[in-house]
Subunit: 227 residues, 2 copies
């Protein structure tokens, strides 16, 4: 098995590796600037990463409605195509911008910088960034966020932390979503928690259902601690 | 809105675009060779793409067990990490190889070529390729397959075809999985089918549940037509 499991460096030309490293370094520098700007403006930036369809927008929709009563909230949402998520989230009344990436599988710091260029950051308490649905690409790109949250839905399988360890490693906290579907999906809660702890020992994990509201109190309390 | 929605070409340096185009061209040439080899050997190659957790492995597990009674079947499975999927699929008795990609978000033709290098292709009727769970990256990489199947689970939302149009455009057929969870997830079947047809008019769509077996007859019949 694993006959094709040669180290990546042996399959990528030195030139590609160099270009990729330069892109990542540029992103890191810009993300550091962004982080300093966010801090100076007193806005807490929280990003969400997950598979497509793990429920980032649904969680964010409910979060903006609840947290928006106590904090000045805003959101940036990334997708390859459509403005649907921004339209959904704008119903909360919070400032929301869609970033469409075309064929790019992640947001990067320059997209965030451009998106907030006409926003007064000092007028915000909490800004959410919803990344493109992808468990791979977003892990390499710092967006200047203070907290990165990785979502894992109860319907997508308990094995995802083991299969996508990097994204769990770059996140600060994990949220298991769609917990109302756990029984129907025969979700193995113990295995999911154990797999998360295997990849990232000590990681804080919350369970929520944006549909039923289960676990939302703890999630909102967590956000208030961090804003 | 869409303030960060500048054309990609304006955000990527000419050098990066050139390198990316060269990589894709090399892949296309190798994929063309692979396709000719598969055809000469009389093996039908069918690839599966989807989000993480849409149920590729579960569908494949059941498919190998059923189709394996009538055809000589084999599978390659791609993941960033772990050999779990290969171990699951090997229980069917079919030849199965895991390709672990490290940080790469898709399979490419060279990985397929290496993985089959010690297999006698003429001894196979159908070879499945399960790509890395990702709705973006795999769309650009031809693997030499005859048929590309995109999976969409009933639990991940009806909007995915609109948000990830390219992967639906590069696929030949769509399979809606986890259909047993449709009611629990309040899956809007009509919207899902309509969104698929918006992105790819005329696309053939099947609905299955690997857990209950619903729709498996039509799926197996489709595979037999194509092998």
């Amino acid at each position: 098995m694993s006959s094709a499991n040669a180290p990546l460096s042996s399959r990528m030309s030195p030139r590609i590796v160099t270009v990729r490293e330069r892109v990542l370094k540029q992103n890191d520098l810009l993300a550091r600037d962004l982080r300093a700007r966010f801090q100076a403006a007193g806005v807490r930036v929280i990003s969400l990463v997950s598979s497509p369809g793990a429920g980032k927008t649904s969680l964010l929709e409910r979060t903006l409605a609840i947290l928006g009563q106590k904090r000045r909230v805003a959101a940036l949402v990334g997708d390859l195509a459509t403005e649907n998520d921004a339209l959904r989230l704008q119903r909360s009344g919070a400032p929301v911008k869609q970033i469409t990436t075309g064929t790019v599988c992640h947001l990067d710091a320059s997209m965030i910088s451009t998106a907030v260029s006409d926003w007064s950051l000092a007028a915000l308490d909490v800004m959410f960034i919803e990344n493109v649905g992808n468990l791979v690409c977003p892990s390499s790109y710092d967006l200047g966020e203070a907290v990165r949250v990785v979502l894992l839905s109860a319907t997508e399988g308990e094995d995802k932390p083991l299969k996508y360890p990097t994204i769990f490693n770059t996140a600060d906290v994990a949220v298991i979503t769609k917990i109302d579907l756990a029984a129907a999906a025969e979700f193995d809660r113990e295995a999911a928690h154990s797999n998360i702890q295997t990849v990232r020992p000590g990681m804080r994990v919350m369970e929520v259902s944006a549909r039923t509201g289960a676990g939302m109190d703890a999630w909102i309390a967590f956000l208030q601690e961090h804003s």
